[in-house]
Symmetry: C2
Subunit: 200 residues, 2 copies
């Protein structure tokens, strides 16, 4: 069986719970509270020297950090991954976009505001992250105006990766009011067979 080291409130960890639910993959969960430094302990650094969750542990006992690498490993030969190699590269394109342009802005804002409750303390960096987060949402909105999903007109792990923090963007202070294509896409993703919610 797989094991998932995770922090329940983390969208990066939710990506893997959602994918494993939709793939019918059984897994154990081990909670690590990042607000209490539990991913910086010597024990955890032996699992992931980068000190971050999630970490996926395979049934063979191999550890895999990085949410989107773990998504790729779980889904590589499944209905959550297109068959065509160029489409597979586009899935990775959107997952790298998610980790570079989206997550550092929208997830970090949500962490400061919603998880830590320290909006005032982080007022200055939040301002820059708001701008960059909206820039990322604008790129998504443009794409979703013309496409039902991110790659190949089909639900894939690219959608899962971007859904994780977009559907809770309000908790990071982002309004999706001006992004109708994103809101319609969020509903399509939530309507996929086997969908599970984040707070599960």
């Amino acid at each position: 069986m797989f094991t998932l080291y995770e922090f329940s409130s983390s969208g990066n960890c939710y990506k893997l719970r959602l994918a494993m639910a939709q793939l019918g993959v059984a897994f154990n969960r081990i909670e690590k509270d990042i607000t209490r430094g539990e991913t910086r302990s010597a024990d955890f650094l032996a699992i992931n020297p980068n000190g971050r969750i999630p970490v996926l542990v395979t049934p063979q006992g191999n550890t895999l950090p990085e949410s989107n690498a773990a998504l790729w490993y779980l889904a590589r030969d499944s209905h959550l991954m297109p068959a065509n190699p160029f489409a597979q590269a586009q899935v990775l394109q959107w997952m790298f976009f998610e980790q570079y342009n989206h997550e550092p802005n929208i997830a970090t804002s949500r962490y400061w505001i919603h998880v830590l409750g320290e909006q005032e303390k982080y007022a200055v960096p939040l301002k820059e992250k708001q701008q960059k987060g909206y820039d990322a949402l604008a790129v998504m909105e443009q794409h979703l105006t013309e496409h039902p999903f991110f790659v190949d007109n089909t639900y894939s792990i690219a959608d899962i990766a971007l859904y994780a923090y977009t559907h809770v963007a309000d908790q990071g202070g982002f309004s999706l009011e001006a992004y109708p294509a994103i809101r319609a896409w969020l509903e399509r993703v939530a309507g996929q067979p086997g969908h599970v919610v984040m707070s599960a």
Copy 2:
């Protein structure tokens, strides 16, 4: 033939030149000067709505942004990619680490100091990026103390992705003096067959 939209001084673009040289893939180069806003023009935004280089264009005319997604596409069935699926996931793990923990700190510092020559203007954010950049280098050093390359003891696109900005980290104000395993790895990478230098 492939086409590469790039900015010569960018390590993200160098990744693709290096991989294509080692794969024997012919390509045209189209220079876009990011310091003059050339990736924010309407023409370029039609190629990549995210306004960033590199963009790889396939012989079929399909465009692929994101350096590490393009690396994966070029190398997926080559000697630059391990055959085992878990090792392939580890290649992605290190490429996501590169884009999240390494590039935003080391490449951005280098851009401000070396490309723009504006070290004083960016003194405050540079301080935070120095700390986070050294944190990323420490993770690399620990891994390379025990392994000759990042995945499977073999040179792969994970090494190419991390080499791009590590070998010019000094231009971002980072000293590798305390990182002997990284320095030895840089020499191993530079000694690979078909290696080309960044300024080519």
